[in-house]
């Protein structure tokens, strides 16, 4: 149990996927102009990441590895994720329209979201077992949601703040992120 908690805290805060590992920055900048939007995107990513993690783990350990096909990892994972996103989109559209309206519009953006692919590679690199992989996927994607929410919140304030003209638009966002990242460095001591 304690190692699961360790994995969770490490992936959620200490190695936060956006602020500490720079993964999924595109959507972090592109999708945080509105708090609602950032939460929607965050939840959609969480949903797909956990599913992708649950699907790619068996594929790697039951199909690729026993047959010596590890070199197809990248190709198989990205195709599986793309197919998964399509299926989720079809299913939600037909069966759960309410959820589709909340989340569906973000799904096309998710195939190329680095966070999901990074999680599926990392769980292999770190030799996680199935349960650890799922916990890791949940933690990483919640970390993603947290970072998105933090920046979206700050951006609401930035709209009405006097910003030096040369720092306008994106530079100020990265400057803000730098400060948030400094705060996150403080979590590094949580786990020995």
């Amino acid at each position: 149990m304690s190692d699961l908690i360790k994995i969770f805290v490490a992936a959620f805060l200490i190695n936060n996927i956006i602020l500490m590992r720079f993964i999924a920055l595109c959507s972090y900048i592109g999708m945080t102009s509105d708090v609602g939007q950032s939460v929607g995107m965050g939840l959609a990513v969480t949903f797909v990441t956990v599913m992708a993690s649950a699907v790619t783990w068996p594929i790697y350990y039951w199909i690729l590895k026993p047959n010596g096909l590890e070199f197809l990892e990248i190709l198989v994972f990205i195709v599986v994720i793309a197919a998964l996103v399509q299926l989720v989109e079809f299913y939600l559209k037909k069966s759960v329209p309410a959820l589709y309206h909340a989340m569906g519009i973000y799904l096309p953006l998710i195939t190329t979201n680095c966070a999901i692919l990074a999680v599926t590679f990392d769980q292999i690199t770190y030799n996680y077992n199935f349960v650890q992989s799922i916990v890791f996927a949940v933690a990483v994607s919640l970390g993603y949601l947290l970072a998105m929410l933090l920046l979206a919140g700050v951006r609401q304030r930035l709209k009405n703040s006097p910003i030096p003209s040369f720092m306008m638009d994106t530079p100020i966002l990265f400057l803000t992120t730098s400060v948030i990242a400094v705060a996150f460095m403080g979590f590094a001591g949580l786990i020995k």
Partner: protein, 340 residues
């Protein structure tokens, strides 16, 4: 019509997929040999680096890891002109950003001949400096982090910030690598039967006495503590002290200790036999065990007040301390009760 369209698209997609996979298979075939050769060459070069005097290396399975989280990928006997010089181990264990792989060479005299970091996934610029050949922990002598272990005795404390210079801002990496080196050191010294590790160097009872198994086993009233063996030491037929080997759960593994107590209820010595916690073997330094000697059995022992924890392994220190306390108390009671 629409169905035909779908099948056609599916076929096209499958074709691209097959062409892609076949192409990759060819590339993989041609590169996998190079990768394997390179890894083999790296390994040989690394082995020579950690064992400069050896003339050749023969795989061996003599050494076993005492810690389940530390894996020995391979071990080699370093052959010299006149018999084996020692053992080199390729060891893999947890660090900050995933597993780290090292090559560690230990000579038959109980001296570390060299350490090389083969793989490290820690933070670039910080922990990853462990594998950086131009990052010096001691700029004056151009000693790298791994380089500083060469020439170290297995009896040394292996404590980061004391006898091991850490990598700046990467204490965890420094500690995990030190820990791995120490695990290998212990395993090799056990395998070759060399003194120098904590085993055998800290007798828990005075060496002049004769030791015999006790006539009845000692049991502890504390739950979770199981006493494995009990022996008593006698001087001229009179019992002067007794010692037991006991084990209990610690942080995320088990800790096993040998505790000796004299008839007047004083702890004569403690030896930490093994600790399977994540960083548990940090507490196997003689300095940690020595601080129990001279304490009265039955007095509460507490990390932070009358026992100093080993930094980086506070929980393991606590686990071991609780076990020593319980065992010493049981032993003192048994001695007072007589009939051992």
């Amino acid at each position: 019509m629409k169905r035909w369209q779908m099948i056609k698209l599916g076929l096209i997609l499958a074709m691209y997929c097959i062409v892609g996979c076949v192409g990759l298979a060819f590339v993989y075939n041609s590169t996998s040999k190079t990768i394997a050769q390179r890894q083999e060459a790296d390994l040989q070069a690394g082995l020579r680096e950690v064992f400069p005097k050896a003339t050749g290396f023969t795989p061996t399975d003599m050494v076993k890891s005492a810690n389940p989280k530390v894996i020995f990928n391979a071990a080699y006997t370093a052959d010299g002109p006149s018999g084996p010089l020692g053992i080199a181990v390729k060891v893999q264990g947890p660090s900050y950003g995933g597993d780290t792989t090292l090559l560690v060479g230990v000579s038959s005299e109980g001296i570390i001949t060299g350490v090389k970091v083969l793989e490290n996934k820690d933070t670039p610029g910080l922990g990853a400096n462990a594998a950086n050949a131009t990052y010096y922990v001691d700029k004056a002598t151009k000693t790298t982090f791994a380089g500083q272990f060469a020439g170290k005795k297995l009896t040394d404390a292996f404590e980061v910030k004391k006898d091991v210079i850490p990598i700046t801002s990467a204490t965890i990496t420094s500690r995990s690598i030190t820990n791995l080196v120490q695990v290998v050191g212990k395993a090799v010294s056990d395998a070759l039967g060399i003194g120098g590790s904590s085993q055998g160097t800290t007798p828990v009872v005075p060496p002049t006495d004769t030791v015999r198994p006790s006539s009845r086993p000692v049991t502890s009233s504390v739950s979770g503590v199981s006493i494995l063996e009990t022996s008593v030491t006698t001087r001229g037929g009179v019992i002067v002290s007794a010692s037991v080997k006991a084990t209990a759960k610690s942080y995320d593994g088990n800790v096993t200790v040998i505790v000796g107590v004299s008839v007047d209820g004083t702890i004569t010595g403690v030896q930490i036999v093994s600790c399977t916690d994540g960083l548990g073997n940090l507490i196997m330094t003689p300095a940690f065990a020595q601080q129990f000697a001279g304490k009265k059995a039955g007095t509460p022992l507490e990390v932070g007040t009358n026992v100093d924890a080993v930094s980086g392994a506070t929980f393991s220190s606590k686990g071991a301390t609780a076990l020593v306390e319980a065992t010493a108390e049981a032993l003192a009671k048994a001695l007072a009760g007589g009939g051992l």
